[in-house]
């Protein structure tokens, strides 16, 4: 196996385009584990950590651009980012242990393609954009458009994600992410929810996005769940309708981590609890 440190993103794309069995290495918290287990045996490992800008968080047009090699601990330590998108940051910070947090990246979490990835529902709720670099140039697309299925993304041949953009926010907005795991940390979501809310001056929900994880082949945005919250102050009826819409959007699997019945029930619980947190963060009074 060859290990190459990419000089810039063009170099990384060129290396990806050699036709070798190549994998990108940022934090390595997925790929190194897969290699150790023998599930992945790349012939070329392309380290993108040294690429200029990949390890930086930039303020951009009122929002934040987060490089592909920025790790969870760095996001957690960025006060302004955390103040603007607390739900996205808390989702990333849930990945792995303290040690893993020093390596694991949000982009890696997305590209690993797990339906249970913690960062993804939070990014979907936030309307995050991914900057994709490939042989034919650079394009920006919604994270939602990149999701494909377990272990897959819609990235094309020799494409990589160089950064994620979290947009600017209006006043009275807040987001939150919650997951259910059978213990309190070091686990994989059985069901999860990211909720992003914008309130009007009276505390009524003016805009909402609800996304679920681990209940379908990819994380999913649930428009009906968001619609249930619109125009409400998160009263019992709105939350109940939101939970019902979440349950309706679930197409989970039965496995060692949870049953279909359990995941379907829990998804709504996570979404309504996350909605309450997001609402409070947006300045709403519950």
């Amino acid at each position: 196996m060859r290990y190459v440190v990419a000089k810039d993103s063009r170099d990384a794309v060129a290396l990806l385009n050699t036709g070798e069995n190549a994998r990108l290495l940022a934090g390595g918290t997925d790929v190194l584990v897969q290699m150790k287990l023998g599930n992945k045996t790349p012939s070329l490992l392309i380290d993108i950590k040294s690429i200029n800008g990949f390890s930086d968080i930039f303020a951009e047009n009122g929002g934040f651009r987060i490089g592909a090699a920025v790790n969870g601990a760095e996001m957690g330590a960025h006060a302004a980012l955390k103040a603007m998108w607390p739900g996205v940051v808390e989702a990333v910070e849930l990945i792995g242990s303290t040690q893993v947090q020093g390596r694991a990246t949000m982009v890696g979490n997305l590209c690993n393609g797990s339906p249970a990835a913690d960062a993804v529902p939070a990014m979907l709720a936030a309307g995050a954009m991914a900057r994709v670099e490939g042989p034919s140039g650079t394009r920006d697309m919604l994270v939602a458009e990149l999701l494909k299925g377990p272990g897959q993304t819609k990235l094309g041949k020799a494409e990589l994600i160089s950064s994620i953009y979290l947009p600017a926010r209006p006043e009275h907005s807040g987001d939150a992410y919650l997951r259910f795991i059978p213990r309190t940390e070091m686990d994989i979501a059985v069901a999860s929810a990211g909720v992003n809310l914008v309130l009007d001056a009276s505390g009524t929900v003016a805009d909402a996005t609800v996304a679920l994880g681990a209940v379908a082949p990819t994380a999913v945005v649930v428009p009906d769940a968001a619609a249930a919250l619109l125009g409400s102050k998160l009263g019992a009826q709105a939350l109940e309708a939101c939970a019902a819409a979440c349950a309706a959007a679930c197409s989970p699997i039965d496995d060692r981590r949870g049953t279909v019945e359990f995941r379907t029930k829990i998804a709504g619980v996570m979404a309504t609890r996350a909605a309450n947190i997001a609402y409070t963060r947006a300045g709403g009074q519950l």
Binding site: P182, E185, I188, T259, E261, F262
Partner: protein, 737 residues
């Protein structure tokens, strides 16, 4: 019995601590030697299959491969129990469970060994399998081994039923007829793993001359020597086994899984061979504890007196005959003074890895079922759970449910301490319940050897033969210091290899502090006798006229006061001129281990929307006889409680319809993490064991017994619904709600 102690009950720094936190300690996988090979094991992908053929030729032809072995390389052995162990280490003819070893390779690197495994061609003919205990016991189940069914069992059970035991006295039916309330329930508990952090690892070097060296992570290196020398057909004296520092055992390292394989590979390759299990291999092919299916019936009077009790325990212990349900049947009702009691047990084989001990093996699930029914009876009759247990508690003089009459025991003291503790009267928050359970373990003595050298500088070198899995080097040094009358830090206790000190049984059953302690005290007595003799020689008086007081020889009787006392250091300093080195040793098999009772109390909160259970408060009371080093004792109690909480809430071996293990890793085999737990508050009770000079009882096992029912009883109260199956994972709880 000695009561006033200078050393016992203090908390000196642990002797292994610095090495462990600095990385200096040598664990199983830490040893390497020049020219050693790396081994890997090929494992069955089937739950049950006939091995039609194994073609190793391509693997053998791979550059760098030095030896390949299969079951054919192992000659038969005389003892059937050793044969089972051997066939568990390497399948012969049939693969009996997912992960069963079928071949092994030794090569110049791990990479080459891994490549070689892929070149081994095994033809399997898949056979029907069974992994559930009740299905395996039912007539018509696929039988793992013919001709091993327990005698006196009829056609109502299958040939997998390899053991039957019954304990008790009186007639439970008579008791039920006298009772005001009778409850009968059926429970199921999952198989759980000890979860030790260090995987099984060894370094074997067996030459063509039949002389061998083996370094391994084990709870009993003499056991390893006996089993391996029999399997390899060499003399025990020719195989020297050294126990590494151990990264946890909890009973899981009381047998061998890889050592005979590494030795055989080394013998074939003519080079040292290192073999380290991966975590996945540990889960698939080491020894978890039994899963169970249990019926318990208890009849009680309105006042709370147990009138009759009956338990039927069905345990599955994996792919070979085993004997462990007996411990469950003996433990089930041990906490109570009963007139009419019977506990029956059946050992059953299944297509799962061969079970091995896990902390109080067999007891936790039996006691879980009994204490759950006790709790339900208390609920139904409106009785206080601790008062009811006190009313029925076994005491000194009680004829136990398994036969012997108890000597001094501390159950009543533990229950009274629990009742008086502020935890018991603290208010409960919504969705929260408080559970209580008793627990019990026998403890035992067993064979032991200790050798103690008095060094010329007044220090003591002590060698014992039991790997230290729970702080025994500290407690043994402390008992030696107490017996000799010197300071703790003048003594260093080490675990000797099999050639350095006499035979010692495996470190298990909470026996070491008790048994090695007695041997240590006796070895100290022998050394003291010699030191008194030396002083007598110097003073030119009779040896009988010298006594040992506070670490020094002094004249006694009509010689009293004639000479100033001579300290151990003074006697040791001139020992070369008074007759040579001074030492004491003791070999024996002490058998008066006192049983240990515990009472656990837990507050649990159940999230009614998710079924998630969190442990809010936990207090554990345990009679340990005498706590030599209280910090270690507290650690044992806390550790047992935590392992029991894991067993109650999330830990389980999950098998699919295909008979394959679905969760061979710590991600989906969920032991509790630190953030799952509150501080576990240990409360040490000391009712001295009359069978030990310092009153010691074992303390390591008992603490894992009560948590299962304590948590279950708490959950029942919090939810208003009782669970009859462990683990009480969130999906199961939510469904029950």
């Amino acid at each position: 019995m000695k009561q006033d102690f200078k050393i016992l009950g203090t908390r000196p720094a642990r002797p292994d601590g610095l090495d462990k936190v600095t990385g200096k300690a040598m664990f199983g996988a830490d040893k390497s030697v020049t020219g050693m090979l790396h081994a890997r094991i090929l494992r069955s992908p089937h739950a049950h299959a006939e091995i039609v053929s194994i073609d190793t030729s391509k693997a053998e032809a791979l550059a760098g491969v030095k030896a390949v072995i299969t079951g054919d390389d192992f000659a038969d052995v005389e003892s059937r129990w050793t044969r089972y162990t051997m066939q568990n280490c390497m399948a012969q003819g049939r693969a009996l469970y997912d992960g069963h070893a079928v071949a092994a390779v030794a090569a110049i690197s791990k990479t080459v060994a891994a490549k070689a495994l892929k070149l081994i061609e095994v033809e399997y003919s898949v056979l029907p399998h069974v992994t559930d205990v009740d299905e395996a016991m039912a007539p018509g189940a696929p039988v793992l081994h013919e001709g091993v069914k327990a005698r006196k069992l009829g056609d109502d059970v299958s040939g997998n039923t390899v053991g039957y035991y019954s304990f008790g006295h009186g007639n439970p039916e008579t008791g039920f007829a006298e009772a005001d309330e009778v409850i009968e329930r059926t429970f199921k508990t999952a198989a759980v793993h000890q979860g030790y952090i260090e995987p099984h690892s060894c370094l074997a070097d067996l030459g063509g001359d039949g002389r061998g060296e083996l370094w391994c992570s084990t709870q009993g290196h003499y056991m390893v020597r006996e089993v391996c020398s029999e399997i390899l057909g060499i003399d025990a004296s020719q195989l020297r086994v050294t126990a590494s520092e151990i990264g946890g055992g909890f009973g899981g390292k009381t047998t061998v899984f890889i050592e005979p394989v590494a030795l055989k590979l080394s013998q074939k390759a003519g080079k040292p061979v290192k073999l380290v299990m991966s975590r996945e291999e540990v889960f698939r092919a080491s020894g978890p504890t039994m899963s169970s299916s249990i019926d318990v019936k208890i009849g009680m009077s309105k006042a709370g007196k147990i009138k009759g009790a009956h338990a039927k325990l069905r345990y599955q212990g994996g792919a070979f005959p085993y004997q462990m349900v007996m411990m469950g049947a003996m433990s089930a009702f041990a906490a109570y003074d009963l007139e009419h009691v019977q506990a029956e047990g059946w050992d059953v084989m299944t297509n799962r890895p061969k079970m091995i001990s896990y902390r109080a093996p067999g007891a936790p699930m039996a006691v879980y079922a009994v204490e759950s029914v006790m709790d339900e009876l208390c609920q139904k009759l409106g009785l206080d759970p601790i008062d009811t247990r006190l009313l029925n508690a076994a005491r000194e003089g009680t004829k136990s449910s398994y036969g012997p009459t108890f000597k001094a025991i501390g159950l009543v003291e533990a229950l009274e301490a629990a009742k008086a503790h502020p935890h018991y009267s603290a208010p409960l928050a919504p969705n929260t319940g408080r559970g209580v359970s008793c627990g019990f373990w026998f403890n035992f003595g067993g064979q032991v050897s200790v050798s103690m050298a008095i060094n010329a500088d007044g220090t003591v070198s002590l060698i014992e033969g039991n790997p230290d899995i729970g702080g025994s080097r500290a407690s043994i040094s402390m008992m030696a210091a107490e017996a000799l009358g010197i300071e703790y830090d003048r003594i260093r206790t080490i675990v000797g290899d099999t050639a350095s000190v006499g035979f010692s049984d495996v470190t298990d059953g909470s026996r070491v502090t008790f048994a090695v302690g007695i041997a240590t005290i006796n070895a100290a007595k022998a050394a003291i006798k010699e030191m008194c003799k030396r002083a007598a020689k110097i003073w030119e008086i009779d040896a009988e006229a010298v006594e040992w007081v506070d670490g020094a020889a002094q004249p006694t009787g009509h010689n009293a006061g004639d000479f100033p006392p001579m300290s151990l250091a003074e006697i040791a300093a001139i020992s070369g001129k008074t007759g040579g080195p001074i030492a004491g040793h003791h070999e024996g098999a002490p058998d008066k281990a006192g049983v240990s009772f515990g009472v656990h109390m837990v507050d649990v909160e159940v999230d009614p929307e998710t079924g998630f259970t969190s442990i809010k408060r936990y207090t554990a009371f345990q009679d340990v006889g005498k706590a030599i080093h209280p910090a270690y004792v507290e650690g044992q109690i806390q550790g047992g409680a935590v392992q029991g909480i894991g067993w109650a809430l999330n830990e389980e071996y999950i098998y699919g319809e295909d008979g394959l293990l679905q969760n061979p890793g710590f991600l989906d085999y969920r032991i509790p993490v630190a953030s799952d737990l509150p501080m576990i508050e240990p409360v040490i009770i000391e009712v001295p064991n009359p069978g030990h000079p310092y009153g010691v009882r074992g303390c390591g096992e008992t603490a894992i017994v009560p948590p299962l029912a304590a948590v279950a009883n708490g959950v029942a109260q919090a939810m208003g619904v009782r669970m009859f199956e462990l683990p009480m994972s969130p999906p199961k709880i939510l469904k029950a709600l």
